[in-house]
């Protein structure tokens, strides 16, 4: 049963990836400029090299063959070079990816830690002033444009109060060797004499961007948890449990929460793609050296190989996360398996 389900998902996933790679491949042709340059990232190719490269890429053969070669290069890690740095695009992406993942995961964590409890409180206190307050805040947070909100926070906490820095992941004076690319683990793993100061500084740098990035998903979580909780509280089994004499808290915890949070797990996956989009804006404003800023810079510089690689990686990531949470949701929820 579950095996069949997983097979079906995998089958679907492979289709999505085929479509995605076809799209990424066709970008090489759709971008302006020389096709050979777009696929290799090399510029000013000499005529002698051009013949060799054309053969390697299969440009003298049909599109289908070229597409297969393209996929082989992707799988071998032999990606195009970035126009601006002449480095392998995959290496560049792996270099900037951890910063985004770190920021996004703290933001997601923050949105769960705030969103879920507040959603539950709002549901339990439905139509009371607390519910109205929380729902009101959620609506405001939901409607605020991210870039404006980011600037507002920078203005208050950085420029006026001077509490928090405006950009980057760590004060440039701290030199932390790169181990994983994730800042906090790297600092903890380093043996720098200023480890504690650096850790504190990194957290100060993290606060504003993760708060900004968490705002939208938090409000979605609040609203979603509230709706889902209200649905569950209407159910007959809740009434039964109450009738059997369980306290309100017991009912909420044992029967309400578990059922209400199931749809929320699914929501986490759906939020991920929004999170990545918002991360791009946040990264640009806070000069956060992640994949969002990297992609936007690449677009400014018309760095086609980088755009091609970036789109491929980001879309794959979003699809993979979506699929993963959906599978997780199915495993947790017997009803969904049918």
């Amino acid at each position: 049963m579950i095996f069949h389900y997983l097979m079906r998902r995998m089958f679907l996933l492979s289709f999505v990836f085929v479509a995605l790679t076809i799209f990424a491949f066709s970008l090489g042709y759709l971008f302006p400029g020389d096709v050979l340059s777009n696929f290799t990232g090399l510029r000013n190719i000499s005529p002698a090299d051009e013949i060799v490269l054309r053969q390697q890429l299969g440009l003298d053969q049909g599109y289908w063959q070229q597409y297969i070669y393209f996929n082989q290069r992707i799988l071998d890690g032999n990606w195009a070079l970035s126009f601006s740095s002449q480095q392998n695009v995959l290496d560049e992406i792996l270099n900037v990816m951890p910063a985004t993942l770190e920021l996004a995961s703290y933001a997601l964590l923050l949105s769960l830690l705030i969103g879920v409890p507040f959603g539950i409180i709002a549901a339990v206190r439905k139509d009371k002033w607390l519910d109205k307050l929380i729902s009101g805040f959620a609506l405001v947070g939901y409607s605020i444009p991210t870039f404006w909100w980011a600037l507002l926070l920078i203005m208050v906490f950085s420029l006026t109060l001077g509490w928090l820095p405006t950009s980057g992941r760590l004060s440039v004076l701290y030199e932390i060797p790169r181990l994983s690319g994730f800042m906090l683990p790297d600092i903890l793993g380093s043996d720098a004499p200023y480890r504690n100061e650096a850790l504190f500084d990194a957290i100060r740098h993290l606060l504003l961007p993760s708060l900004v990035l968490a705002t939208y998903p938090t409000t979605v979580m609040i609203r979603f948890t509230r709706e889902s909780m209200l649905d569950v509280l209407e159910q007959n089994y809740i009434k039964t449990a109450r009738a059997k004499g369980l306290t309100r808290l017991q009912v909420l915890y044992k029967h309400g929460l578990r059922n209400a949070l199931l749809p929320v797990t699914r929501q986490v996956g759906l939020q991920f793609s929004t999170l990545i989009t918002l991360a791009m804006i946040t990264e640009v404003i806070f000069s956060w050296p992640g994949i969002g800023r990297w992609l936007i810079d690449s677009i400014y510089q018309r760095n086609f190989p980088a755009i091609q690689g970036g789109v491929l990686v980001v879309s794959s990531l979003v699809i993979a996360v979506n699929m993963f949470t959906e599978i997780l949701h199915t495993l947790l929820n017997p009803l969904a398996r049918k």
Binding site: L151, L152, S158, L159, T160, G162, T166, S171, L173, D201
Partner: protein
């Protein structure tokens, strides 16, 4: 997105920056952060001319044979302890300083101190085709522009600590060239190691010098990290670390200053200085810099081939308006190409009047009583010497209308603009020049000589034998007073002939936190942090 962000930040900055003072973050790292405008193109000053790159690398990593005293522009000993010039002005002999150590880095461990071999290696690269590194660069822009290959005939190592340059003709700007940031001394031993390892390109990417700081690492578009050079031959820098934080966005740079993430930053936009000047925790340093903004007429095109027309136009423009509206009072009006800080500046030059009546009269005499139509090309980029060429063009347009001359403003994208200028398609152009060294020749030759009309930096396309003779005589004279006399004649002649109207010498600005000391603007070169200190 970026522009929305910048726009919004600047508004917010304006409203709130004066509200209250931020709490200074405390760091235990003894270091200084300089926020630069861009990434360096290379780590070898021989290969670049851009001011951003020079500021980021030159004075920190390298020393030169001679240095320029920032107070009076005089040459002072650097890595050369002393020097002698032969009577015919053709040979220069330098005694190299003893006990100068090269940087010890993770990619190079020096085994010996500085000798004449290193000087030979450094300048040999620019001059000799058989030098192992000569071919690794396509050009040496600064040295090409002063025609060094034609000037220097040979280099001779006399003894381990003595070297001699032989020139093909006397050139009194030779020593100034050696004192520029571009004439940094490299290590011959490091060069030999790179040749052995066949990694020639590293010479320009992984620098080894004798300067106050040594290279630690570089992340493109993010930062450059330098450590103190523990065996520096001058007094040791106070700072253990120097970080060049690369922040291309003007607004973000200001925001970083306000939060004290930057200690020092160059601020090219004058409008933002007023904002920062209200804060007590910042100091704004200003200095008239070696530059000039000017309005050049294409003297090969009628009616600008007539001296009277050019003079008339020069009388027609109201410079004090321009000083206020374009430079916000942060520049000095110019009446020569040379800034008043130059030793060759002619104090007796007439100050260019604003006199539309005289301008009209001159125009009638030249045969244009009704005026004429012309184009003013305004450069599309901001430069220190001309922060807003379009606005300046509009002001000039209005002034010219008073004397019956109808001006059209023309602008192209920067690269196209320069290409079309080189092809001489313009009537007149608003542009400028920043000097690379303190020598007056650096202004007078590239901007108005016949050779420059061919190579393209002479935007007036003006070629005058008298003028060329004057500036040629000046470089061939070793006696300072005589040189000054020639240069003053050249300036007088230029003011008479008016192939271009000098407009302003702009000041250069830099903002630093009040707790930073010992950093100041060097009018003759890149920024220097050797004496910088930080109090907490």
């Amino acid at each position: 997105m970026k522009s929305i962000g910048s726009f919004a930040t600047i508004i917010l900055l304006t409203i709130f920056s004066s509200a209250c003072q931020p709490i200074l973050p405390t760091t235990r790292v003894n270091g200084l952060v300089y926020c630069a405008e861009g990434s360096p193109e290379s780590f070898n000053p021989q290969l670049v001319t851009s001011g951003t790159t020079i500021d980021a690398i030159s004075q920190h990593l390298y020393d030169r044979l001679l240095d320029i005293d920032p107070d009076n522009g005089e040459l002072i000993p650097g890595l050369a302890e002393s020097w002698q010039i032969s009577d015919d002005g053709l040979t220069y002999r330098f005694q190299i300083r003893q006990g100068v150590e090269f940087h010890h880095t993770r990619y190079f461990s020096p085994t010996r101190q500085l000798t004449a071999e290193d000087v030979l290696f450094t300048f040999g690269r620019l001059l000799f085709v058989q030098h192992p590194f000569h071919q690794t660069a396509t050009e040496y822009p600064y040295f090409d522009s002063v025609e060094w290959q034609q000037l220097v005939e040979k280099l001779t190592v006399i003894s381990p600590m003595e070297i001699e340059f032989t020139l093909t003709k006397p050139d009194s700007s030779f020593l100034s060239t050696l004192a520029t940031d571009f004439a940094a001394i490299l290590s011959a031993e490091y060069g030999a190691q790179l040749v052995k390892n066949k990694t020639l390109a590293d010479l320009d990417q992984l620098p080894v010098g004798t300067g106050p700081f040594l290279y630690r690492n570089y992340q493109k578009d993010i930062l450059i990290r330098y450590y103190r050079h523990p065996k520096y031959w001058r007094q040791l820098p106070q700072m253990e670390q120097l970080v060049i934080d690369i922040v291309p966005d003007n607004t973000k740079r200001i925001a970083k200053l306000l939060t004290h993430e930057c200690d020092v930053a160059p601020i090219p936009r004058l409008a933002e200085l007023t904002l920062l000047s209200k804060r007590e925790d910042f100091v704004i340093d200003a200095q008239t810099s070696m530059n000039v903004g000017y309005w050049a007429f294409n003297t090969r095109v009628a009616p600008f081939d007539q001296v009277k027309v050019r003079q008339a136009l020069s009388y027609a423009i109201n410079k004090s308006n321009i000083m206020q509206a374009v430079y916000f009072g942060q520049a000095e009006p110019a009446n020569s190409l040379l800034p008043p800080t130059s030793w060759a500046y002619d104090k007796n030059l007439n100050i260019q009047r604003y006199d539309p009546q005289l301008a009209k009269k001159l125009l009638s005499e030249a045969g244009y009583p009704q005026g004429f139509q012309m184009d003013i090309w305004a450069m599309p980029v901001q430069r220190l010497y001309n922060p807003n060429a379009l606005k300046m063009a509009e002001l000039i347009q209005a002034d010219l209308a008073q004397i019956g001359v109808q001006a059209h403003i023309v602008s192209y994208e920067w690269n196209t603009f320069r290409r079309k200028l080189r092809q001489g398609e313009h009537d007149s152009v608003l542009i400028g020049w920043s000097a690379d060294n303190a020598d007056p020749d650096n202004f007078l030759r590239p901007l108005l000589s016949c050779a420059a009309a061919i190579s393209g930096s002479n935007r007036s396309n003006w070629c005058d034998e008298n003028y060329d003779e004057l500036i040629a005589k000046a470089v061939h004279t070793p006696i300072l007073e005589e040189r000054r006399a020639f240069y003053q004649q050249a300036q007088q002649y230029q003011a008479e002939q008016m192939p271009l109207v000098p407009i302003a010498h702009s000041k250069r600005f830099q903002v630093r936190s009040r707790n930073i000391s010992g950093v100041r603007i060097n009018p003759y070169g890149g920024i220097n942090f050797t004496a910088a200190g930080k109090s907490l």
